[in-house]
């Protein structure tokens, strides 16, 4: 560990999480560097979402430490919205608020600012994620799947948090929309200097936008590194994941 503390956005050490007798995460350690896009892959039900939810404090841990931007995380932290933004799988937009109000919600709760500025910031965020100002007065029920994800992203980024968590951002999107969304995340990551922690199954996302990929199996990170290195990995599960029939087909076409 020659790298200094400063270079890490998230440091997870010896994390143990379980429900009842079942241990989901077993002494897991993971470092996320500042300014990178880290993709996390793992079997369905293998604890990817549990890991993400534990880092953001939604699930209690039984052991280990989690440091986010150099500060230890414990339970629900005040001002969490300024530290990280989270894009939930289904968007988790507040259904009783309009798109504009959804994006303004973190601003309203955390800052004191005029309504005029708040409106402008909300529209600015919506335009940054590729929506139009006309969409601002719609309700979440009136949005398509792709738009919901974009609004949720705008809300996650409302306070310009340094870290962005994405839970399967491209699931349920068609390949074109998924590709656009990947590109959007890449662009935003560059302009805002974000650190992105992405749980995904989308091999295309992993290859195109992720700087590094971590593989979670048996409650541990079994391999981590750029996509190219992971493809060389000898771990049986990682091999099965990236060299299965479906993956082979995709990778073949990418070459």
């Amino acid at each position: 560990m020659a790298e200094s503390q400063e270079q890490f956005a998230i440091r997870v050490r010896d994390l143990v999480v379980g429900f009842g007798r079942q241990t989901v995460l077993d002494h897991l350690s993971l470092d996320v560097r500042k300014g990178e896009i880290l993709g996390l892959v793992g079997a369905s039900g293998g604890g990817k979402s549990v890991l993400m939810r534990t880092i953001i404090g939604l699930i209690p841990r039984q052991g280990g430490t989690i440091d986010v931007t150099g500060r230890p995380v414990g339970g629900r932290t005040e001002g969490a919205a300024t530290t990280w933004g989270i894009l939930f799988q289904q968007g988790a937009l507040f259904s009783s608020l309009t798109v504009r109000q959804n994006v303004q919600f973190p601003l309203r709760e955390n800052l004191v600012l005029s309504q005029e500025l708040m409106d402008e910031i909300a529209i600015a965020k919506l335009e940054m994620v590729g929506l139009r100002a006309q969409d601002a007065d719609k309700y979440p029920a009136e949005l398509s799947g792709g738009m919901t994800k974009r609004v949720a992203l705008a809300r996650a980024l409302a306070l310009d948090p340094p870290i962005l968590f994405l839970d399967e951002p491209t699931s349920g999107l068609d390949p074109i929309a998924a590709g656009d969304f990947d590109a959007l995340i890449g662009t935003l990551q560059k302009t805002l200097g974000l650190t992105v922690f992405m749980v995904t199954h989308d091999l295309a996302s992993l290859t195109t936008v992720c700087d590094r990929v971590a593989a979670l199996a048996d409650g541990k990170i079994v391999a981590i590194g750029p996509m190219r290195e992971l493809l060389q990995s000898e771990h049986p599960w990682v091999r099965a994941y990236f060299h299965g029939k479906r993956s082979q087909m995709l990778q073949h076409e990418m070459r």
Partner: protein, 378 residues
Amino acid sequence: MNSEPLLLATPSGDVLKLRPEGPWTAANVSALETLSRSVGANVDQSRAVTLDMSGVSALDTLGAWVLEKLSRRASSSGRSAEFIGVADHFSGLMDEVRQVNRHTPPPSPAPNPVLLRLNDLGKSTVGAREDLTIFLQMLGALFMAVIGVLRRPRSLRLTSLVYQLYRIGWQAIPIVVLITFLIGAIIAQQGFFHFRRFGAESYTVDMVGILVLRELGVLIVAIMVAGRSGSAYTAELGSMKMREEIDALSTMGLDPVHVLILPRIAALVIALPILAFIGSIAALYGGGLVAQFYGGMAPAIYIARLHEAISVAHFEVGILKAPFMALVIGVVACSEGLRVKGSAESLGRQTTTSVVKSIFLVIVLDGLFAIFFASIGM
């Protein structure tokens, strides 16, 4: 790093030089708003504005937007505005912010308040007609399902029916008994208290008996069932609709009315008269206890008076209404459940509508029955 943001304004000739310093981030938003407002007048007076960004230590979307707004304020009236000294790691963000808020949609014209009222009135009129249509449609669909069951009795969902009976009948008994017992006791207490003044205490028993058997027993029970089971029906069917379970049933060639709604409404129609009966007895019992301990009337006398005061006709009037009330509650609850749309809010709204509407209709129906029974002399 943690210092306050600053905005230095140096006019040199016609050119205003603005030099923002420190962290221009969301955390300092109130300071940023004050700063940008304070130089607003200077910006309007000068011919050209230069924003020197070299002193900015931290920048986020909000800070960048406040600065961009200043520059737009200058350039909007034909003056020139430019950013200089933008650090490399901020340039992407500044470029991005320069693109946004360019196409603000025209504000929608303020609606005429009179027209708005008329619009609401028209909408609710159409809505009322729509409500009636949906009620009749559901009644018709239910009737067709009943005919289907009569033709092929084995197609009745017996398991579902028994389960619903258990839920809305058996499990409702404790609360129904408790509440009707209290109502009976309260009526009796009021009767004794007020009739005592003109020595008509014994007529309290007549009042309790007739009121409970004819009206209150069934009405209270129906209202409770509407609140307890009607709301549950709406919420269940609504969430099934939201999760496309009802569509799944239809695509398998099954009629949702037959599978889901008929057993529920049939269970209500069977359970409500039984609950009304149990409730009436509990109310009479409550009245009897009050008569003994508050009115000083021996139980034997209470029963004897009750025997004289009421006839089977009173009981029939009450219990005959119960199945009709059950039908109204069930039809309203199920049709409101099917009207639920995608959101959680819609589910809540339809559940409320269901309860309010079924209680209202139960009371209206009770009034119609009162007129009907009075005119046939029961």
